[in-house]
Amino acid sequence: MSTELHHMGVAELAAALEQRRVSSVEATQALLQRVRAHEALGAFLALNEEASLAQARAADERRARGEHTPLLGVPIAHKDVFVTRDWPTTAGSRMLAGYRSPFDATVVARLGHGADGHPGAGAVTLGKLNCDEFAMGSGNDNSAYGPARNPWDPTRVPGGSSGGSAAAMAARLVPAATGTDTGGSIRQPAAFCGVTGIKPTYGRCSRYGMVAYASSLDQAGPIARSAWDCALLLSAMAGPDPDRDSTSLDRPAEDYTRGLDEPLPGASAARPLQGLRIGLPVEFLGDGCSADVLAAVRSALAEFERLGATLVDVHLPRTQLAIPAYYIIAPAEASSNLSRYDGVRYGHRAAEYTDLLDMYRRSRSEGFGAEVQRRILIGTYVLSHGYYDAYYLKAQQIRRLIAQDFLQAFEQCDLIAGPVAPTVAWAIGDKADDPLAAYLADIYTLPASLAGLPGMSVPAGFGADGLPVGLQLIGPHLAEARLLHAAHQFQRATDWHTRAPAGDTLSRQA
């Protein structure tokens, strides 16, 4: 049993638990052992085996009493930006080394034991996952605790900032993980690691207990092996949190697995996506994208046509402007959010200082890494007197124009498709000295983030050096169900999402 347990996705493992073919304690023990054997991947930052096993025992007891919550006893892991009571939370930063939250994030509680009258889905927390410091980065090489590695090639980045989540998925260490996406931090690592991820509409999932980076963009979502598994997790994660997150949408959670297997209304089983119009932004499919990625994306699109979808050209003329607009708005919000780290109430405090000001300055420069300090400086500048209108306000105006471009495009199509990133995963360290090069590589994920739209990454084949390529699907606001349906139908017809890195790549690292 335990030999193949790690190959099970969420739905499969939930079924095995339900049929008592395996207990949650057995599954948790087996996966913890696998996590320990793959420490060299750098996917996990913290384990608390006692707490995990206590949760697993509680799940087994609940099942013995006849309870059946959707994820009861399924081990999952959380990106280290979600605060957890029984595991330290560092957000990948030295600033928060050893930090213990007195409470669980809403997303953690809803997936697990529940909170505020909301019944939990019953998942077991296996541990906390590596990420770029305060979710700022796209290679997971900005983590203060060392890089996470890509299981397809350990010399490559897994993407970021949810790099540990995607690496753990690809290495089959957990059946599912949480991530957060501010400018692409779920979609891009999912693409680089050949797994499936969804960033919901801004506000779908509560931000309560997510260590803040850029509050008008941050959004939680699942990373898993399939669209079906993502749907299972998202159903538990989504929904309003009116007393704790003022920006959470007042929309009830849905059962996102409902109807996933059905063809669209009026479509046949052979052509289940008949009637679905997929828009291809010409700006996403030009010279900026490398040929290997384009080839994989185009063959995935051909598969969507075979499934009955129609491809139409659309325009997102301000795609290029998403880079400066995002890298002004997000750092501006970050410089404000991160001002809370003063070395007084929590977080790192310098060992030596002369006065209060010196304590702030030393504590912050010792606690924050280079990329975080860079973004704080950018944010401080664009919000400062005399520059606010020219930079911050202007970027917010462009943000609205970008959102309007999407609304116009969605008059001609039901979903938008394109690459997630212009290339496959790069070598660890490649962009370390050139932050601008890393910013430019976010070009295809930033526009949907600025507009607050839901987006997915779906495994679509392989590019250069046998590394995974992700197809990005972007939906109108609140159209998560439509995205997941299209992705699931694609995954019924293809097997890219079932591919795993060869075992020897992993054991070499382990």
Binding site: Y202, Y346, L356, Q397, L440
Partner: protein, 99 residues
């Protein structure tokens, strides 16, 4: 209009960061490279465009939500102070600020 080393020092002071000289110089180059690509925003005519602060505004009216003004949190002072660098008698310790 490029930033100068003086600007970086001023920003670092505003942001309560202590940058040594080599770090400040490296940051200066990187910030100026970034603001080169920001220049393309200037060419966009945004006259009359309402800034977008909350993405949900695009598809539904956003109202400021207020909860009832009542105490809902239990006292968790000890749990909250467990991660503090320096506390004594339930108080946070900081360097002397008033002589």
């Amino acid at each position: 209009m490029a930033l100068t080393l003086q600007d970086v020092d001023r920003l670092a002071h505003l942001a309560r960061l202590a940058l040594d000289r080599p770090t400040a110089e490296r940051m200066l180059g990187q910030l100026n490279a970034f603001f080169d690509i920001v220049e393309q925003m200037r060419a966009v005519d945004t006259t009359g465009v309402e800034p977008l602060a909350h993405p949900a505004e695009v598809f539904e009216p956003v109202r400021l939500r207020l909860r009832d003004d009542v105490v809902t949190e239990p006292n968790q002072r000890e749990a909250n102070q467990a991660s503090a660098p320096a506390v004594e008698g339930g108080l946070y310790l900081v360097p002397r600020v008033i002589e």
